[in-house]
Amino acid sequence: MRKTLGLAALAAVLACGGASAQQVNVKIGVLSDMSSLYADIGGPGSVAAAKMAIADFTKDHPDVKVELISGDHQNKPDIGSQIANQWYDVDKVDLIIDVPNSGVALAVSQVANQKNKVFIVSGAAASDITGPKCNANTIHWTYDTWMLANGTGTAIVKTGGDSWFFLTADYAFGHALERDTMAAVEKAGGKVLGKVRHPLNTNDFSSFLLQAQSSKAKVIGLANAGGDTINSIKQAAEFGIVKGGQSLAGLLVFASDVAALGLPTAQGLVLTETWYWDMNDTNRAWTKRWQQERQGKWPTMIHAGVYAGITHYLKAAVALKGNLSDGKAVVAQMKSMPTDDPLFGKGTIRPDGRKVHPAYLLEVKKPADSKYPGDFYNIRATIPADEAFRPLKEGNCPLVSG
């Protein structure tokens, strides 16, 4: 009897002992578009970036064990939220990251809030994620439509492009980008002459480009991304839009899009990004490692955001000693710690969930100026972190008091 009691006591002590050990177990899920028009800007490249972040972090923290899974949301919000539900509930995932496609991201953000887990958006753009739809479980990394609108939009109006016509993808992201750019253009003194909305994943833009041509606007703003942007730009060249005196504003263009278009077609495009592989030696070294898994491809700022987001999350997990059951507490911890990673440098996460860092105005090089594969951009300007993103008070986020 005493022996059994003694053994039971020993077992109890050993069981409790597990909680005070430093072992931190984390499960991360990369949810992205693996097979459709956004697969090159996020997709398997995000999984590669996630693996790198985990490898780099666990090298310095051997007591942290991270399990990584990935899934394909196919650009459908219902599939995205179903996967998120299953991951959070059944598969015990602590963090979901990436999710290009703002419609899916808004849906997953709701799920993370309901389940009290953590969601870091790297791929999606709609500024509503830290605006009216913000919540205490979601962090928006990398970029958003307000930054794009005020980076590219304002810069173009300042150089004389003061009348605009919008070609908009007909879903959450396109609407958000069109709304934010319209506001930025009008604030800078320009005017908007019209807009046309096209379904997501459209093949043929000739009809919409014709309407843009007849509007006689100086600038045609492309409020779309991925395959849609590539098709719009390619077909605009065909219809002689640029030769006819109008210019194209690619409001969201990635390195992979420039590679798909080729420099002869893409040259001269002005765009805003928050990370470019060729900006400094650290980025170049990171890119070389990333390309070992993704041969022949170029990393985008979304991939960099996945790497940085996971790094910061794991730092928070260690600070909380592995207690990840309360998503709001983890996010609060992430907001209280300043960020510092090799790709984005030092930065902060604001109360509304917005990660802030500098943005860069880039211009696509002429083919003659491109010295090596991947040499896509000239850096035209740097927008400091405190100007690049929407001011905290203007977002209508319920988490921000006052």
């Binding site: 379904p199 000739s206 009809s207 919409f208 590539i230 278009l261």
Partner: protein, 295 residues
């Protein structure tokens, strides 16, 4: 005159012309599908993937041999047509006597395989392919600026479509083909090699899809999913035109392209769905399609 409807005649004619251009792609692709279904009774769901393979073949031909657009227009369909022949010999010939569904499932699976392999090697953002020198630029028609390449698309597909219709409906070879579909045993008794004809017909249908793919490469993004985006609409076109009717496929293809173009002008958000709405209406009124024969 049109001003009273709130539209300018300029814009209207421009959209009609653009609709015709898109209709050319629908016509070419639905022609291939109609030929394959009419002659072989196979619902070829891999048609979109074969269209994509035509575009990729054009890109690869340019990369590896330096041959440009015009040679690719002949070589790519032949190469992809050969893969079609291989598919038919290996897989499809066992399915003719079975329910349509088996052919659909098999070709659907093949389409997924082709797309997945292409995405694995080339990524999904797409590959660059430019309009050939001789067709660059355009002319101002007054009501719109028409790129030369798009004019070629209309002309080229009209020629190919009506050439195919002529061969099938008006020549002896076409007569053999149509007879072999109706009564293969009797036709074989006359000494005609029916299995070979069927194989070559499938190869020809696939080559038509690849031809459309090469024509699409300079203007649409050459990506692995370019076919799957188009194929659903093309199926709707074929169903409206009447499965198995060659002329129905051609006329419906051009007609629906025009209707879609007008929808893009008046109500762009619905441009994705208007063809399916029409398909639903046509099926209610004439289940065999506009030009179809009742089975």
């Amino acid at each position: 005159m049109f001003e009273m409807f709130g539209i300018s005649s300029q814009a209207l004619f421009g959209q009609l012309l653009i609709g015709l251009i898109n209709g050319s792609f629908y016509a070419l692709l639905s022609l291939g599908l109609a030929v394959i279904f009419g002659m072989l009774n196979i619902i070829n769901f891999s048609h979109g993937a074969q269209y994509m393979m035509g575009a990729f073949a054009a890109y690869l031909i340019l990369q590896y041999s330096g041959l440009g657009y015009w040679p690719a227009l002949i070589i790519a369909p032949i190469l992809v047509g050969i893969t079609g022949v291989i598919v038919e010999r290996l897989f499809l010939q066992w399915l003719y006597k079975l329910d349509h569904l088996y052919g659909l499932l098999l070709t659907f699976g093949l389409a997924l395989i082709f797309e997945g392999v292409a995405r694995n090697y080339f990524g999904s953002a797409g590959l660059p392919y430019t309009v050939p020198e001789s067709l660059q630029g355009g002319r101002n028609l007054g009501f719109m600026f028409l790129p030369n390449y798009r004019a070629w698309v209309i002309g080229g597909s009209l020629v190919v479509c009506f050439g195919t219709w002529f061969v099938i409906e008006r020549t002896r070879l076409g007569a053999y083909l149509r007879a072999a579909t109706e009564n293969p045993t009797l036709v074989r008794a006359f000494g005609i090699n029916v299995p070979r004809m069927i194989t070559l017909t499938y190869g020809f249908g696939v080559a038509l899809a690849a031809f459309a793919g090469v024509m699409a490469a300079p203007i649409y993004n050459v990506s692995p999913q370019m076919g799957s985006e188009l194929i659903i609409v093309v199926f709707a076109v074929v169903v409206i035109g009447g499965m198995g009717s060659i002329l129905g496929a051609i006329i419906t293809g051009f007609g629906l392209g025009v209707i879609e173009g007008l929808t893009k002008y008046f109500f762009p958000e619905a441009s994705n769905t208007v063809i399916f709405v029409i398909m639903a209406i046509v099926l209610l009124v004439r289940p065999a399609g506009l030009f179809g024969r009742r089975a």
